[in-house]
Symmetry: C2
Subunit: 411 residues, 2 copies
């Protein structure tokens, strides 16, 4: 299985890497009618393919011991040993929008975890998707499992599939909040893993460094504002208002042409007048930002729990104690100290790639890589062991000894 | 947290253990109108309390490092370190039937995993449940968290709670298939963990030992036929028909007064005439058993995948190769070799106790102990790290070095 994974993944990587910059055009969808940011997402540039290749190689390398890995071993009694081992979840339905680079990423994760995969991509990338899917199938066919990754072509097919709870084990929508909500509604009896909103916060503490705060806010908000891990609400400690730190952040936001929405408390402090927020729970997904004032780290945490979406929340401070308090008490999938919200990503976390970011509280949480596509089963090997021998008047006693588990290869 | 858990758990154990056999009567519900098996399930005998105490002490011992445990550490870049740590799921709603010993078990697991808990027990055990809940709250109140475990009293309250998807994170029904199905239907947007059916199989291979097979079938079917992990379908290799092994199993089943239902193939071989099965997918939950004939281990596996419920399936054979083939290829939560189906249980697995057995394919699978009540969060500690520094023309490269993880205490 591991060999197959490695070979199939390498095959996809090698064959989808352009031999020269020009050949990457083969994988482009292009149309005069599409907006520039969408075209950028659709395009498979050499640089995108290079990152993709690095990620796929990481997946291939880490997949060597993913399926069948022993997580726990227990001696229940003499000659009665229990093992918990990893196994694939089964058949996944992954729905993604526009970006065709999702296809090889998700395919590689599914192959590496031994899952069957149904993929529905955005229609704008249908040409790229078709070619990437052909390459995937070509790689799989060498091992006689060509049909393990399938393309689904229409939205109607997705709706029908969402009802097949005996055939499909997990649905992963990867795209806009609207897509996730639509799929959650359509899925009948099949679990859906994803995040419906990414309302990420950054709290700038009274002991924050001016330069760090400015750098972190810029990267979190402006580097790619449409991403789910982009900053949406900036919480500023009251003591910072009318200090150089605050002025520097506001100046930077003006230069970057970020539209500011003021929270109710912030609005009451202002001499200039940005529009007041309609809701403190808004995912702008654009060069827009809500700013609100808080009195303490505790108030920041309370705000995040009340208005956040448990995706990614950050504290900026030079005080380690305050930082640790925030890290321990904020109950989100990802909680950072002095780092951009944008690190919340499977590739950046070193998971190779991600099938998405989960804000649900069961199964995988945060960026979901290979391990999130596995479940476990329990294997018990005995001789002729029966439970009645372990009853009050029986001849045997449970030992329940933890046995050593083979260590995982680390890179 | 670990200290609190240990103390609270010990408190419940010590205070619910009867000082003398007579005092255990205080915890009994008894009524002339209840059937004997139900009364047996309701009674908290000294022996039951002793097993309970052992289990709770196991939970207390294993809870020392359950919350906040580091599962993975990665150096993303210089001075940028990622940690994945365990955290509680949140608020659990656990619904159980009749057996009052569930209450301290589930309470201990919730306390040990740091979760809030809403408990609904069966009305037949309401007196025992009230007293056990008072003891739990008394223990918790020492630590100022008395309200962390709450009793829910009516069925209507459960229905209302099943709609509170913003307040409740996971529902665990623990009882009959009907209860689980009802709760799955009632839950609106809240995940439900449980098994709707326990259709467990035992495949007796052509190379099985006569005595072992008889012992294993008896224990699996007769020791406690109402349990979800009791045997429901016995698959016999064709070569065994009209051999001493087969006669011995049939004789034992007659002595134990087990009613036999014949599968279609088995019926065609018979000289005597048991009733033919209505469906090969039946959970009898009583002294009744379906017997069917198969030609090979592969046919047994196919039968299990077609008619089973992925709960617990067993092979009886002396051939290790055949056994390993079965263990690897049967896709159930628990797959055993030469051991009774009845081992499928959190306490017997050494998990201390269980909140239930899950046949779902995401989150926990099989008997669910402490670890099934935990989720994770990702903590990233940086200095002023931004993702734009890692872009193609940026100054930094991802390191993605796995760092050592503190080893877990083992008992």
């Amino acid at each position: 299985m591991a060999d197959l994974t490695l070979q199939a993944t390498e095959y996809v990587v090698c064959h989808s890497l352009p031999r020269s910059p020009a050949s990457s055009c083969l994988l482009h969808s292009s149309s005069g009618r599409l907006a520039a940011p969408l075209l950028k997402r659709l395009s498979l540039s050499t640089s995108k393919l290079n990152s993709l290749a690095i990620g796929l190689r990481q997946i291939a390398a880490s997949s060597q011991d993913s399926v069948g890995r022993v997580l726990r071993r227990t001696r229940i009694a003499k000659n009665l040993e229990l093992e918990q081992v990893t196994v694939p979840i089964g058949v996944l339905l992954v729905i993604f929008e526009s970006r065709p680079d999702c296809l090889p990423q998700v395919a590689a994760l599914a192959i590496a975890s031994g899952n069957g995969l149904l993929l529905k991509g955005g229609k704008e990338a249908s040409h790229s998707n078709r070619i990437l899917h052909l390459l995937t199938q070509e790689a799989l066919s060498i091992h006689g499992v060509k049909e393990a990754v399938q393309l689904v072509n229409t939205r109607e097919e997705v709706e029908d599939l969402c009802r097949l709870d005996k055939m499909i084990d997990l649905i992963i929508p990867r795209g806009s909040s609207q897509l996730v909500r639509d799929i959650q509604k359509a899925a009948k009896g099949i679990p859906v893993m994803g995040h419906s909103e990414g309302i990420c916060h950054m709290y700038v503490d009274s002991e924050a460094s001016v330069d760090k705060a400015t750098r972190l806010v810029r990267d979190s908000k402006c580097e790619y504002p449409a991403a789910c891990n982009a900053l949406e609400t900036l919480l500023i400690h009251r003591d910072l208002l009318r200090t150089p730190l605050f002025d520097q952040i506001i100046d930077m936001l003006r230069v970057e042409q970020v539209k500011i929405h003021a929270g109710p408390k912030f609005a009451s402090y202002l001499t200039f007048s940005p529009s007041e927020v309609k809701s403190l729970r808004t995912e702008y997904g654009d060069l827009e930002l809500c700013i609100e004032v808080v009195d303490s780290v505790q108030e920041a945490i309370d705000h995040i729990h009340k208005y956040g979406s448990s995706h990614t929340d950050v504290i900026v401070t030079e005080n380690e104690k305050t930082a640790e308090f925030f890290l321990q008490h904020v109950d989100s999938a990802c909680v950072f100290w002095n780092a951009s919200t944008r690190f919340s990503d499977g590739y950046r976390f070193g998971l190779g790639a991600e099938v998405g970011i989960s804000t649900s509280r069961i199964h995988a949480r945060g960026p979901v890589g290979l391990e999130g596509l596995l479940t476990t089963k329990w294997l018990l090997r005995g001789q002729d062991h029966v439970v009645s021998d372990f009853s009050e008047h029986g001849s045997l006693k449970y030992l329940h000894e933890n046995l050593p588990v083979p260590q995982r290869n680390t890179n």
